[in-house]
Symmetry: C2
DNA sequence: ATGAATACTGTATATTTTTACAGTATAAAT
DNA sequence: ATTTATACTGTAAAAATATACAGTATTCAT
């Protein structure tokens, strides 16, 4: 018997526990559960022991309210890779990955975001409205995109180190590269751009446009 | 007296409670706290009552482990908008938003992701390796980008409805639009692309550049 | 058909946990 | 100078909680 199956009564019990914690933010006592489910305390106890054994929660004996829900695995968004024609597209087997936001977002504690404005990075496919994730702790290697502060002005550019100088290159021939001394006081790399997210539905785009006009 | 000041002893108590919950995932009893802090239960009680009054936690009398921490605001990634020159860039006041992933990702329960491959959507700035978020529940309006199944083949295109027909337009003049009957059995819209995320670490950028040159 | 797990009831009892009452001492506030 | 809040101690009692033991009835796989 795989440890994953719960009986009806156990499911009901688990549900009860969840609801209690949801409402009170601390776990219930056996007797409270017994009362709401209108069964004997020992019935409750049996179920909690079973649920603990099956790893749906942790039941600590001898301790009042010694119940801890196992946190459900963070449900990632399934990611389907491209598959050869003829195969059913969206099926378990085609999930090549799941997207757990943490993996992208929580890399560094002081990660921050900046919106892109203007077309200076258009050849790097960064457009107005894109949200960039910037990691201030990451070391800037040649060729990465950085957010830098040049004379008080924040700017997004490709980063190249050339000896004691730094070249900040826009991804648009319309604009000229900035070359500046690495230790110039008016220059500071705020962080390396490690990711980008872009809203693509109509509503989001519209609301962004409004924001743009206002600013 | 503003309700925000805590005495030394109260701070210590709050810290203890936090640590206990961090470790056990359920709240402590008064006596447990008293024991670890080596004070009398009633000292603990006094502090809990004070902490409740000052809204640092909720203390429910007559209930074992009736302690609930007030949850701190979810710490999102701060997003800095572009600011006029001269202003300090990264300061509290410049945070125009915070990124709470849920707002982007959890819109619909059965949201899924697909990786982009190829250059058929390059004028919509979608490149190989981009991860698209697709909402199968969202209604496809004209002009949105959809993931559709055409004769068993998944494809990413602009969506336009033209009477009883549907026009799927690639964002690249190299490729031709697909026009198909709305109710054609070999055609199905899997969902609307509502967002996109792209990793921008060095590897990605390099492979993007290589791909760009090749195309 | 039969042992094992499930799903309970009921009555006690042990233990844990909270509260109540009565103080003492110190620091801050009016 | 005197109240008021803080920060405790100590003992005892009340209550809330968990467990133990002894059953019964039902389901379920072998």
């Amino acid at each position: 018997m795989s440890a994953e199956t719960l009986t009806k009564a156990q499911q009901r019990m688990l549900k009860m526990v969840r609801e209690y914690i949801e409402e009170n933010h601390f776990p219930p006592t056996l007797s409270e559960l017994a009362k709401t489910l209108d069964v004997n305390v020992n019935a409750v106890r049996d179920h909690l022991l079973a649920l603990d054994r099956k790893k749906f929660l942790r039941y600590v004996p001898n301790i009042s309210r010694g119940i801890e829900l196992m946190q459900e695995k963070p449900k990632g968004i399934p990611i389907y890779g491209y598959v050869p024609a003829g195969h059913p597209f969206m099926s378990q087997e085609n999930i090549v990955d799941t997207f757990e936001v943490q993996r992208y977002i929580s890399a560094s504690d002081d990660m921050f975001g900046v919106y892109v404005r203007g077309d200076s990075m258009k050849d790097a496919q960064l457009a107005t409205g894109d949200l960039l994730f910037v990691d201030p702790k990451r070391d800037a290697q040649n060729g990465v995109i950085v957010v830098a502060l040049v004379e008080g002005e924040p700017t997004v550019k490709w980063f190249y180190r050339e000896g004691s100088m730094v070249r900040l290159v826009p991804a648009n021939k319309k604009y000229k590269p900035i070359v500046i001394a690495r230790h110039d006081e008016s220059f500071k790399v705020l962080g390396v751009v490690v990711g980008m997210i872009r809203a693509l539905d109509k509503q989001r785009i519209d609301s962004f446009m409004k924001y743009k006009k206002a600013s």
